[in-house]
């Protein structure tokens, strides 16, 4: 069984730590953390198989649709999951579905590490207090940006490195031996079905129960036209037009009714509906 080299493991570990510390790219790290795509690409570059890595990452992405942190708690860390699962899948030449089976538990474990980071930052907060008291502007900036970044790297780099360097070959081995058994069928079914989680989560988060017809419209469109090779960009344009037509026509109705003087409460349809 192949293994990752020390350098490959280290580069991936540094990438993950950079995302988890949220430093360097600021708010842009948001999508790096919530989506496995870029991490999958980095693993692909490091391991010299971009195409293979992207195929696996696409499968992992589907189960992590809708993953973000409402109120700061997140059920999983897709980028940590991708770092391990894509490496394992490339090492063991696994199917994308089998890679999902690796990604899910790793992502769950990763979320505890991210929480632990908040705990470390609580102590660093004392340095901010002291710096504010003495009005030392440079020290304030250091305590807000530099120290938490260093703490995150100390936390994440060794753990991810160990998981990749020693863990990945072992996991790949175990899963490879399962191939050809009924487990493969189960993994495929689970991998295909879990994509529903991400999509259902996104629908729930958007929180417009009254607009579910648009989901159903698109669902049946895509099922009916599946073999026609319509791209996502085309669908996005159609979706934008459908949404625009709806918003425009509703605004016109509101305008017409307020012009009639029957209803002066402009935007009364500003629904107090779904608690999302």
């Amino acid at each position: 069984m192949d293994t990752l080299t020390i350098w490959q493991s280290l580069i991936i570990a540094l990438w993950v730590a950079a995302i988890m510390s949220r430093s360097f790219l600021g708010g842009a790290t948001l999508t790096l953390r919530f989506s496995p795509l870029m991490t999958g690409l980095v693993v692909g570059i490091v391991m010299g198989d971009i195409a293979g890595a992207m195929v696996i990452t696409a499968a992992i992405q589907l189960i992590y649709m809708g993953v973000f942190s409402p109120g700061g708690t997140m059920p999983s860390e897709p980028s940590i999951a991708a770092a391990i699962a894509v490496s394992v899948a490339l090492l063991g030449d696994l199917s994308p579905e089998a890679a999902i089976a690796v990604a899910v538990p790793v992502g769950l474990l990763g979320s505890y590490l991210y929480q632990f980071r908040f705990f470390l930052n609580t102590f660093i907060g004392k340095a901010t207090d002291r710096a504010v008291e003495s009005l030392n502007h440079k020290a304030i900036s250091r305590s807000i940006v530099l120290y938490p970044t260093i703490a995150s790297f100390i936390l994440f780099v060794p753990l991810v490195f160990i998981a990749l360097f020693w863990g990945a070959p072992v996991i790949a081995d175990v899963i490879a031996t399962l191939e050809g058994t009924v487990f493969l069928h189960i993994l495929e079914v689970v991998g295909g079905g879990l994509a529903a989680i991400g999509i259902a989560t996104t629908i729930y988060v958007i929180g417009r129960r009254d607009y579910m017809v648009f989901f159903l419209l698109a669902y049946f469109m895509s099922v009916i036209f599946r073999d026609m090779g319509i791209t996502m960009v085309t669908y996005a344009i159609i979706g934008t037009l459908v949404a625009a037509i709806f918003v425009l026509s509703r605004n016109n109705t509101a305008k017409a009714s307020s012009a009639n003087g029957t209803n002066t409460v402009d935007g009364s349809d500003d629904d107090d509906d779904d608690d999302f």
Partner: protein, 292 residues
């Protein structure tokens, strides 16, 4: 003579101590600093407050020339704070900038302080929850996944663009929309017009929600693969369950799966981990006995 020079130096020093006039540029810099430091110092104690302070530092230094006033302002912006990056963070950095501007003027002119610490904190606290609710579901929950939905087929074909496009598009979107909200928040603090109630923002939220649901429908139709592998032999002829299901309604099982999870969320709340475990268990069992 002496009183005269004293007067001159006094007015001069008073002029020197006068708070600077904040511009759009100051507010943009404050937002960019907040954007950059957003989640770096995240802690259980104060959540994102240090990031807000980091964003506001240049603004506060321009406004408060007296050390004690500056220290008080720093502490004011270091109280517990948690909100979403662009909607919450943008509007609140803009709003706090204009409120601090008022406060600095009132302190400098020895007027009665209308912009009290309480008023400022309550404004922040009142907005941060509501705005993060809107911001999270629109940005992270909808816009981000619209970009990802477009790029997934590229990734499936092994193209790097599948990763690069959503990242670049979403990062650019967040930066621009955050700057927009920061400036709007700054103006709002002066004129007190309800930005969130404006027709434009309401329409944009609606359009994005519909587009988000639409793209999820497309994704579900293309990528949720749940099918029955059940086959019977009835009086010598094979009977394939999935074929019958397809004649009833194509794509029935994936839709049932998605709607089943959605229904679970509606009943039990957004318990993603639990739904994940339940669905995995159900799929394992159904696959093992040969139904799926």
């Amino acid at each position: 003579m002496t009183t005269d020079t004293q007067k001159v130096t006094l007015t001069e020093s008073k002029k020197e101590m006068a708070p600077g006039e904040l511009t759009n540029k100051d507010v943009s810099i404050a937002y960019l600093r907040w954007h950059f430091a957003n989640e770096i110092p995240h802690s259980f104690e104060r959540y994102l407050a240090p990031s807000l302070l980091y964003g506001m530092m240049p603004v506060l230094r321009k406004l408060y020339k007296d050390d004690n006033d500056l220290r008080a302002a720093y502490k004011r912006q270091l109280l517990f704070f948690n909100t979403q990056l662009t909607w919450g963070g943008g509007i609140i950095t803009g709003l706090m900038s204009s409120m601090e501007q008022e406060r600095a003027k009132q302190e400098h002119n020895n007027e009665e302080i209308v912009m009290t610490d309480d008023l400022m904190y309550n404004t922040k606290a009142g907005l941060m929850g509501a705005l993060s609710g809107i911001g999270d579901s629109i940005d992270s929950g909808t816009v981000q996944y619209i970009f990802i939905a477009i790029a997934i087929p590229w990734a499936q074909n092994g193209l790097a663009a599948g990763a690069l496009f959503p990242f670049i598009a979403f990062a650019t979107y967040q930066l621009l929309i955050g700057l927009f909200f920061a400036r709007q928040g700054f103006v709002m603090g002066k004129s007190a017009t309800g930005l969130m109630e404006s027709a434009g923002v309401q329409n944009a939220i609606e359009l994005l929600s519909i587009l988000g649901l639409f793209m999820m429908g497309i994704l579900a139709g293309n990528y949720v693969t749940v099918s029955s592998s059940l086959e019977f032999v009835i009086s010598g002829r094979p009977f394939i369950v999935q074929e019958t299901l397809d004649t009833i309604l194509p794509g029935l099982l994936p839709l049932v799966t998605v709607m089943g999870i959605y229904w679970y969320y509606v009943k039990k709340g957004l318990k993603v981990t639990r739904a994940l475990i339940w669905l995995t268990l159900i799929l394992i069992v159904l696959a093992a006995v040969g139904i799926l």
